[in-house]
Symmetry: C2
Subunit: 130 residues, 2 copies
DNA sequence: TTTTTAACTTGCAAAATGCAAGCGAGAAGT
DNA sequence: ACTTCTCGCTTGCATTTTGCAAGTTAAAAA
């Protein structure tokens, strides 16, 4: 992203994550997805080029990081940074809205609503467990 | 919108409001915007065709309603429905994230964080004050 | 009765999204 | 050790969404 539309925190937040995919990627990571293929195999069927580009953008924005930069050109697993994990309350509120206002939605797993940003913040700079 | 990507409440919520403009329109209405021109004159500079289309979509989705259907073909003022007002916690969390994670953002007015969905729910079906 | 203003619509260019196929490197099978 | 498989992407192209600029319609104001 190049510029913010305004200095409004809401509009600016949406300049970063206000597309159809970024927050579903965050959701997937909150419930345990770490690899490219984890994120691809989600029921929403994101296409591979979009996933790759979104991961790059989210990494550039500092919301995720590569926890295992593999040897060769191939990249490994992804994890939320503290800044990315700070979005957890946002996706939890979205989930509550969706559950309450849209018929026949799934109930997220318990660990989803239990997740807290601080669970991730402490790990920043660490490598994921091998 | 025609279909949901999945039955996930988050993905589905984003199928409805997961674009760059819907939630800034909700934000504007929470802080008092009611007319088309109020919504146009926001610092984010939404273009008029997008605003018109978004208002139609939000109305079709039941998030807003026209509180004063004027005579002639011209439509009047808009208001949040209970379903739309239920998004208030979502935009409040987005605002908190933006304030905390993006440098130099505005602090929203007090009434923004004070707003509660129930302030709007009771008015559903009413006409706005003239 | 001419001019403004408010609420849009229309036309077209640009950007984002989506589908399908391909590619390079390491792991796995034989 | 050599072929095959899988993973993590990239590339090409069609479709959809977004954005800018200008035009339209009806009511209100001058």
């Amino acid at each position: 992203m190049t510029q913010f539309r305004s200095a409004c925190p809401i509009a600016s937040a949406l300049d970063i994550v206000g597309d159809k995919w970024s927050l579903v990627i965050v959701r997937s990571m909150v419930v345990g997805a770490t690899s490219y293929s984890d994120l691809l195999s989600t029921p929403e069927k994101i296409s591979t080029n979009i996933l790759a580009e979104r991961l790059r953008r989210l990494e550039d924005a500092g919301l995720i990081r590569q926890s295992q930069p593999r040897q060769g050109s191939i990249r490994g697993a992804y994890a939320l940074t503290a800044k990315g994990a700070a979005l957890i309350p946002v996706v939890q509120e979205l989930a509550r809205w969706g559950e309450a206002q849209i018929p026949d939605r799934w109930t997220p797993p318990e660990r989803f609503y239990a997740a807290r940003p601080s669970d991730y913040a402490a790990r920043d700079g660490d490598r994921a467990a091998d």
